[in-house]
Point group: C4
């Protein structure tokens, strides 16, 4: 499978390296386990995105990265298995031209919030991006009885609609999907949305938390976006050791 | 002890390798500590099963694997110590012809559910196999005052009766027993039953969770069964590193 | 300091090796951090015990082990610093001729129980030794305003009196002291008392746990004592890796 | 950047080595993640302090350490990026001549206490330094709508005023700042303030904890200060392995 890189139609090696590293970081930071996935929109073609074939994120290598169109069909069918929920990525890229990277995960701390439809609220500056709110999605509302998976474009369109203009959508009985303007931002958001969930759950045991208000959260999010590399460089070192 | 492999009466090396790896994965994923055990029904003889001699799962090697009959007697007595609770395995294989693999464990998150007789319910798709319900067993109901251990066929028969047609039985003041149609399925179920317990405990602090309903759970379980290797391959890599 | 072994007055190398390994296991299993200590009564002289000089348990080597009398004076003063709380050990060995090994620790899960005077009760068979009850000690009751440390024989006598015939005494605002009939038993009890505390704390969030009753606990404790090596051998491998 | 050591104007290599190690320990003990920082007042010039350039603490090397004046300007501008919140350090050194080292962190267990304005109280002797109380700071009280960061001297002066004569100040929606009379003391305090927060949160689920009273806490703090090296030497070994 080591010729797949030829099919990335111009995505450079550095981007693919970041995509692979992002997968490993998400695993090492316990945002994904064997399941979940990370994609990035193709830098030269907004109608394509890059993502691994069906594989645990912790095992992804550059040779596993493929290009998909926005209907989530592989541009070159390699005859391998693909993620059954890849439609999440394609439909969000269609609905949100500003989105350049997507994470789908089952991070532990997020599940209780999605299952009880409790909103995530920014408990500290690190998760300022939550200030604009957190979307909720219940697959049963639009698709009836299912296996909970976003395994076709129709379900994915409903999910993208639920996401709206937010940065994260919690999925009842399933997990969450996070979006960003780059791999490093979406990885950062995935890590700190999960951390925020843990902290929020603990804080409410002590009393009513004083969350960041909308303006504080927005200002904090802007500041954090200037330090994404500081986190990335540490996480990279940790994922490699 | 390196001649025991001769006594597996036809079980091939690949199955024994999976059994050893399953032991290591269960330890590495914190489903078992020094205690607990994993068995697999003999592929060529439904009246036999394979399991380690008395040993912490994390230390099991191929040379420690022995064949037992369904009364849980070793087919060839090696003069070594056997698990005192091996009857769990034999009696479940007798009562449930569909069961091909069994895990007995004391996973931390499961204990509070068994001790309070709180049912596990599927909080996300990963644990769809819980949708059919979760059995409860109190050894005191049938055996009176004991050391809590299933150390004879009679206690094991009661446990198998309590399990019924479920995939997991919680044992008051003791642990849990999980069944599956293969090593990879029973390991998967043990990991995600434990994860479900953690998430359910957290979720109820936020409100009443919207669990998967029976149909959703059944559909999710069917989907998960198609991706067991994705998890297994990651867990294997982790257990080996 | 490599001549200290000469001063163990007959304790053989295997016992000292177990004492060193016990220190490392307690650290690796998170029962002690930089603080806490483990001692063993001298096998040939019941009026002596063996323990490290003042050092984090995780760093103890055979060369650090010294012999103390039951007034907790070093038999041969090596001119090094000793644990300020060594009197815990001496006074318990005086008061309890059946005790052959002692652990003093600040294990996280035990602190909330001591600070609220909540009793530990056996939530599963692994901690059957808790069935006879758990002693509580508040240094302020007998010593008034202190730094909480058992830094003289008088405080230690009060602690030993509080321990009575139990296997563990929780110390308000401080930690716990655990006793056993051998190094392997006291290490086992320290690990599972801590685990029991974690599980009990989680269980009461679900409802009133059905604890083991006194007879069940006693029977379970007897069974567990036959499998101490199974845990020890695993913990040893983990502490060494 | 390997000529920066020339600019430390007399701080010796051992102190810089401790500063680097303190950074690594704080990361390894999970007090800081990619964010947070540690400084030490210059031993020869009380109007200077030493701290890393803008970098994750876990990645800091001796070559990254720079000297700042108490207005938090680098004494020699290296043309690199500096921590945006370095003013925390300068203003505390101005306001508190007794302070020789400062940690700013976002340790998980501390966030819920700051966000609910719940005071930390010493639950065991290890955190006796909390007996004098714990300060609270809400940036909104003095600076209005912000990104929560102490990114200018004015905000830092308010923080220093809130700290007063305490050893720790919790910062709403942000983190905490801890002070000490040396690197080893401030690292010790950061670790055990965080541990105390975890234990206090667990304890209140069981009942009203019997905290150390003021006198006990003060005596305990004095005792602990004599054993800082015992913890440091262990943490150092762990951070290096």
């Amino acid at each position: 499978m080591n010729t797949q890189a030829d099919f990335h139609t111009g995505a450079d090696a550095a981007l693919i390296e970041d995509l692979v590293m992002g997968n490993h970081i998400l695993f090492n930071e316990k945002i994904v386990d064997a399941f979940g996935h990370l994609s990035v929109r193709h830098p030269n073609n907004p109608n394509h995105y890059l993502m691994s074939r069906h594989l645990a994120p912790g095992l992804v290598t550059a040779a596993d990265v493929l290009t998909f169109d926005l209907d989530s069909n592989p541009v070159h069918d390699m005859g391998v298995r693909y993620y059954s929920e890849r439609f999440i990525h394609g439909e969000i890229y269609k609905a949100r031209p500003d989105v350049m990277a997507v994470v789908h995960c089952h991070a532990s701390a997020l599940i209780p919030f999605g299952s009880t439809r409790t909103g995530l609220r920014p408990i500290y500056h690190m998760s300022g991006f939550l200030g604009c709110g957190c979307a909720q999605f219940n697959i049963a509302d639009t698709a009836g009885k299912t296996d909970m998976l976003i395994r076709d474009p129709s379900r994915a369109k409903s999910l993208a609609a639920a996401l709206g203009d937010k940065s994260i959508v919690l999925m009842r009985g399933h997990g969450a999907t996070v979006i960003g303007n780059a791999i490093r931002q979406v990885v950062y958001r995935s890590v700190y949305a999960t951390m925020n969930a843990q902290l929020q759950l603990e804080a409410i045991r002590l009393g009513e938390p004083m969350y960041l208000d909308e303006e504080e959260a927005e200002l904090a999010a802007q500041s954090n976006d200037k330090s994404l590399d500081r986190a990335w460089n540490l996480w990279k070192r940790e994922a490699q050791s």
